[in-house]
């Protein structure tokens, strides 16, 4: 995400060499850091230190209830060698990838609608889309079970209509259920960033394009879509990253065929009680997500450049 935003942020203006500017430049940097400092402080306390502990721990090994603190790559070796870890990792990316694509695609028109076609009470719409998430996630999961279950709403409906002869078992306790539940749960996280970035688009650009004779489709693909890409990227990351590490949803609606890497990590910190292994798996997950993220950024930037 960083790269794309950075590429557009430093405007020509701040780069202009002038005596006064260069004097201001120093203080501007200082001011920038000053503005950042509270956020950075929180991040250092709440993030850097725990993450350092995590990395250190990933090189230790378990010894009964204690840790053997001699550095070793044993955990990483195990993670490479034992097929279950790679299989779970692949499954996590698969499930979370589908969820992300589906959510972003389904939510984009909604964000677009609110940004361009709602003229009064925009905030009401935004809040309306966030409200469902103020009920507890666990309760929503129970609702989904009622809908997707063996004798649930969908199955009863389809049976009643005579469309199926036997209840569809793949609806609940399956990867389908995980994807549906996740997509529903993260909808607001997709809409809000995309809305924010669509809302910002200068309407006069669209006007100008229309004056030049561009049709609606052309206007959308030449102006609206490229300009809303930062929001789409934000949304993609906000959904993709956390869902990859999720373990509650697979545990609640996934059944035996959908545990993800997060479930394994949680087990290492819980029942299996091998914290160093759990730490190593987290580090591996982080690296993979970073790698996937970079590739994604690279591809979107290339395509963006080719459009513009």
């Amino acid at each position: 995400m960083a790269d794309v935003q950075m590429s557009s942020a430093p405007s020509a203006r701040s780069q202009r060499p002038s005596g006064l500017r260069s004097m201001l430049y120093k203080s501007e940097t200082a001011r920038g850091y000053l503005l950042l400092s509270p956020a950075l402080l929180v991040m250092v306390v709440g993030m850097l230190i725990p993450f350092t502990i995590l990395i250190a721990m990933s090189f230790w090994t378990r010894d009964g209830f204690d840790f053997d603190t001699t550095m070793s790559m044993a955990n990483y070796q195990t993670a490479m060698d034992v097929p279950i870890y790679n299989a779970f990792l692949a499954r996590s990316f698969w499930i979370s990838g589908i969820t992300t694509v589906a959510t972003v695609l389904l939510c984009y028109p909604m964000a677009y609608y609110v940004a361009f076609h709602v003229h009064r009470n925009k905030m009401l719409w935004i809040i309306l889309m966030t409200l469902p998430f103020w009920t507890s996630y666990l309760l929503r999961v129970f609702s989904w079970k009622v809908i997707l279950g063996y004798e649930g709403v969908i199955n009863s409906g389809l049976l009643g209509l005579g469309l199926i002869d036997a209840p569809l078992e793949f609806l609940l306790y399956s990867q389908t259920a995980v994807i549906i539940t996740l997509a529903h749960a993260w909808a607001a996280f997709a809409i809000l960033p995309m809305y924010v970035s669509l809302e910002k688009i200068d309407r006069s650009l669209l006007e100008a394009a229309a004056d030049l004779g561009d049709g609606p489709a052309r206007r959308f693909f030449r102006i609206t879509l490229p300009l809303s890409i930062p929001g789409v990227i934000s949304a993609t990351f906000l959904i993709f990253i956390p869902t990859t590490g999720d373990y509650i949803t697979p545990a609640l609606v996934g059944g035996p065929n959908s545990p993800m890497i997060g479930n394994l990590i949680q087990l290492q910190f819980g029942a299996v009680n091998n914290w160093p292994m759990g730490a190593a798996l987290s580090v591996i997950l982080t690296l993979w997500i970073a790698a996937v993220g970079l590739v994604f950024l690279f591809v979107t930037r290339k395509s963006q450049e080719s459009v513009v």
Binding site: F51, L128, E199
Partner: protein
């Protein structure tokens, strides 16, 4: 303004889509109030009878209300603090040319990658080494770490690329930084700020893994619900609570709308 209308022309297809979208969004939610009146311990069809029993039970369960209060406190504090920090950070990132900017953004986004349980455990280890006893403050700290990336990610696109000249014009007119920020920048980024407040509140209000590891004796609501799963007897009154939350939040929104405050915080209206 009216010349714009052909761009903003109502789009029937999109309208239908929006309606369908909201329906799908709300259907699972509406089962919650439905089952909160159902005379059964279990969430299942067919409905067995109408009852107010769970609401009466809920009234007597002070632990549920306490946990709701705790969640509200943490949620409000987290959303305000993380949005303020996020606003400052987003401004710094987009306005100043900072060495190591990309690294900083990546660093701020890092918490997204790490499963909550790991954060919870490592923060807990850190806090207990420091001798900090667990309370709602520690939960707030934990949630702050999780919410900050969401705040920054929502605010960055808004800050980035709006017309800088307005700020500069204000500065040229001799206004101080605070004034410029409050009068010029803030209204421009307000939609982002509101989106960030909503998002971060929602996250904090629904998070229970970190909350579990970082809380002492004050449970937050989602964590409270999670720990109730051993006893189904307690489940229906939780449904009743969620229904009340839904109802109250709807009422609040509509009252706010009615009073007209929501109209005021819509810069788009006045701009376009």
């Amino acid at each position: 303004m009216s010349e714009l209308s052909y761009i903003k022309r109502p789009n029937r297809g999109l309208k239908i889509y929006a309606a369908a979208f909201l329906t799908v969004l709300y259907v699972p939610i509406l089962f919650i109030p439905l089952f909160s009146f159902n005379d059964s311990l279990y969430v299942k069809f067919p409905l067995s009878g109408f009852t107010f029993q769970w609401y009466i039970e809920l009234w007597e369960r002070s632990a549920v209300w306490d946990s709701l209060g705790n969640s509200m406190r943490v949620g409000v504090a987290v959303s305000i603090i993380s949005t303020i920090l996020g606003t400052l950070a987003a401004r710094a990132i987009t306005r100043s040319r900072l060495p190591g900017q990309n690294a900083i953004v990546a660093f701020v986004m890092l918490p997204l990658v790490i499963p909550g349980i790991i954060f919870g455990v490592s923060l807990l280890i850190l806090l207990s080494r420091l001798g900090v006893s667990l309370s709602l403050y520690t939960v707030t700290l934990g949630h702050l770490v999780v919410c900050l990336p969401f705040a920054v990610a929502t605010l960055l696109p808004r800050f980035e690329g709006f017309d800088k000249s307005m700020e500069e014009a204000s500065a040229d007119l001799g206004e101080n930084g605070w004034f410029t920020f409050w009068r010029v920048t803030f209204p421009l980024v307000l939609p982002g700020v509101i989106a960030s407040l909503l998002l971060t509140f929602t996250i904090s209000f629904d998070e229970f893994i970190m909350a579990f590891f970082l809380t002492g004796t004050d449970a937050t609501l989602p964590m409270f619900i999670w720990t109730q799963l051993r006893f189904p007897q307690n489940f229906p009154s939780v449904l009743a609570l969620a229904s009340i939350i839904l109802l109250v939040s709807f009422l609040l929104v509509f009252v706010a709308l009615w009073v007209g405050r929501l109209g005021l915080i819509e810069p788009e209206e006045s701009q376009s």
